[in-house]
Point group: C2
């Protein structure tokens, strides 16, 4: 039987959504391309993220900093010292595995955060051998996840690194942006961009890759004068949370979360905004904020919640975003290494940072995975319109009686109204519907004999397959009206 995961990835390859990079050359593992359909879905997801998070405060801005950054940045951030994973290399075939993942697979427990010594002891105790050739592994060693680069020619070359997260850009640019934006706090700096990690064993499609896209917002604020937020907007909104030690996730209203989770309104507000965004992506209530324990979370994080979504492909909840109150760790580190004074003017401390971090690839996959539907005669992605690759397909029923001309007119009128449509006249109308359904296009507009008589067209709804007649002149308006329904917006 073909699994949910196989079905989704097969369509992804066939219809140019996501596929491995440079396949024809026998590609490197952990690198994926977004194709002609997937690139639109991803871009629209990013636009929705941008609109949602950057409209929260007038002093939240997007910036685009470089991917290659100098060594000093990663001294300041701690990545050079701390950013590594334990690797187990087979003594015979040379295959590499992440030691903690290997143990997790064999023993069914989590081993993240153990030392190399502890992992080596466990490997020996449980006699873990290579799954491929049954030979024992060499001693486990820590391996850096950073990609170093030699920048410049010969004598004057320096060492740079591909950024392993977008976050360091806003920290390294903080001083200039703070000044350019009139030294006001809170200041939000967001980046939507690529990051790179030399993962030991990339796996789970786009869930653990070596090149990936992040959408991260760093909010800089004065910890002694927490910024005001319009908390009334969310006070009755229910967070779904799984606190440390709890067995099951539970719903808690934001107004109660302040006391129950022991966090100020400022923090609860941003948790709510994160959850509302995930919700708007058509995910069927199957998400939760999972709190990390003191052993699991980075030492500098005062609060650390993973936002997890249930993915049918994996049969479990997977992390797609994170809520991190990083305190003064970042600006403190950059100030110490660079000797720049990054204090809040008139204060003797640096701004604190709240980070809202989203893995774009994981989110896009989680949306597709949850939107996948199978019926006897078709499959489709029940995508919210905000992330559908097109808003509508426009089809002449047949290629005669001036239907194509009329259809092209309708197509053009839609494009001019800002509706993303495509025109398709190839094959039977049934095949064209199926083709559009397969990639999640919400509406099909058909021009038929009646159109030529009375000027109406058929609007076919992807999910219900229901059809309605609409006057061509009112079509853009009608589609915008439909867009305001829970399916999403144009």
């Amino acid at each position: 039987m073909t699994s949910h995961f196989e079905k989704v990835t097969e369509i992804s390859l066939k219809r140019a959504i996501i596929y491995p990079d440079a396949e024809m050359h026998g590609q490197m593992s952990g690198f994926f391309d977004y194709g002609s359909v997937g690139s639109e879905i991803k871009r629209r997801w990013e636009n929705a993220w941008r609109e949602h998070f950057l409209s929260l405060n007038q002093n939240f801005h997007e910036i685009q900093t470089t991917i290659v950054m100098p060594e000093q940045v990663f001294k300041a951030s701690g990545h050079l010292e701390h950013f590594h994973d334990p690797v187990a290399v087979c003594s015979k075939c040379g295959v590499s595995e992440r030691a903690d993942h290997l143990l997790e697979e064999f023993l069914g427990e989590k081993f993240e955060g153990l030392t190399v010594q502890e992992l080596n002891a466990l490997m020996k105790k449980h006699k873990i051998v290579c799954t491929k050739c049954k030979a024992p592994f060499k001693e486990i060693e820590d391996k850096s996840l950073m990609f170093p680069l030699q920048v410049g020619a010969s004598e004057d070359k320096t060492i740079g690194y591909l950024r392993p997260e977008t976050a360091q850009g806003p920290y390294a640019s903080f001083k200039r942006e703070f000044r350019a934006n009139r030294q006001k706090l809170p200041l939000g700096l967001a980046i939507i961009g690529k990051a790179f990690r030399n993962e030991i064993s990339p796996r789970q499609f786009v869930f653990r890759t070596r090149e990936f896209t992040q959408a991260e917002l760093q909010v800089f604020f004065d910890p002694k004068e927490l910024p005001e937020v319009p908390f009334h907007e969310v006070k009755d909104y229910e967070l779904i949370v799984l606190p440390v030690g709890a067995k099951d996730a539970k719903k808690v209203k934001c107004s109660k979360a302040v006391k129950e989770l022991g966090m100020s309104e400022f923090f609860v507000y941003f948790m709510a905004k994160m959850q509302q965004f995930i919700e708007s992506m058509g995910l069927p209530g199957k998400f939760r904020f999972a709190q990390l324990s003191d052993e699991e979370k980075a030492f500098y994080n005062k609060y650390h919640w993973d936002l997890e979504v249930f993915c049918p492909s994996f049969g479990k909840f997977v992390e797609v975003a994170g809520f991190h109150y990083r305190t003064d760790h970042d600006l403190g580190g950059h100030a110490a290494v660079s000797k720049e004074n990054l204090n809040i003017p008139g204060k003797d401390y640096v701004p604190h940072v709240l980070e809202l971090s989203f893995g774009v690839d994981r989110n896009v996959f989680a949306v597709l995975d949850n939107a996948f539907r199978e019926e006897s005669d078709r499959t489709y992605f029940a995508l919210p319109q905000a992330v559908a690759p097109w808003d509508a397909g426009v089809y002449p029923l047949v290629n005669r009686e001036s239907m194509p001309e009329k259809a092209l007119e309708v197509f053009k009128a839609l494009r001019e109204s800002g509706i993303k449509a495509f025109y398709d006249a190839s094959g039977t109308i049934g095949k064209r519907y199926a083709r559009a359904d397969e990639v999640g296009v919400p509406f099909g507009i058909t021009i038929d004999g009646d159109t030529l008589k009375d000027g109406t067209v058929t609007v076919r709804h992807r999910d219900s397959k229901e059809q309605e007649r609409v006057s061509a002149a009112q079509l853009p308006e009608r589609l915008c009206e439909l867009a305001a329904t829970p399916q999403g917006k144009l």
Copy 2:
């Protein structure tokens, strides 16, 4: 006297348009960030490019392929063998310079394309020494511009490279996209994304950097059945061309260019579309297509024209885009190295490639540089609205008499109409206008005493400083109307 270049870059730094990456850590040369203002200008430029070029044909699509690509790709493309520059290293202080640029500075002639032997001979003949320490240079050597990376752990690691151009993505993905898009030609695959070159001496602000953004469209077509294009749209449009051997650029109508430049309508059409795009960016007619001679152009290019724009900062024409008919070089190379058959179905040859290549950073800078205006009491960027960082600023005249509340209402209404506005209530109204002018915001909307009486607001025009009264209810409509003027569109 402060030069044009110094004025533009100073504002760029001060107002968070473009600034060096990781300045606080003493950054590496050749890496620039787009700040909170510049990132908007760049993003809007990219959106305009996307809209212009991807609407030319329904089978033109955007894709996003990886930045790190495997070694085989660059064997196929020829980059590993051919992509290097001659470097001269000072025997005493170790400074590195590009040998041909060094000779050009000393002798005032162009030396691109000479061999290492020829360059060494010229260096000795003219006794070129280091400008810093006057010591002689070591022998010139070719240095690769590629950034290699070790991917994976220990024994199973492979070599990848940061792409030096986005173009290889569409070539390596051609087979999958061709199949997913019903094997139709022409097929256009565009990428807007980062590329990396280990330049020996980065210079001229964002004109020669090590990390940069390209917007490139690769059009795959059958050379024996050139695709039809709507040539009538451009037949009377005048190209500005500087053919090889000509002293001055001249205007030539597209209908005549076919014969005069010896190129089919298919090619002339795309040259026109490139020039029209540059024109729409508010560049004051100071552009030209400069043809490259056989010595200058890559051996595989059948046609090669640089699109150049005059930049006041440099006092000369600079290359911002290229028109390259690359024949079968690319798919031929990838087919040979991968042993995949990339032939057009039923034919014994691979599709040919026409590449429209834009350097995004260069274009953004050229737009800013040409838009810079200086008056006795202010400076401003006369940016077309399409690339202005915001469409409008909304200002209460004073912070009392409920003007701020009314202004926030207007601000909200504009945002809901899809107009990108900001709200600003800090400082005198004159300072607020000046601040918005400085980064090129086309309209200022002021809410004053009359607004509270009769519901009208003042619309101030950036370039003329002229003001008009408009009813607040009609404001979004009026701004859209103004946007249809040559200033650009919302």
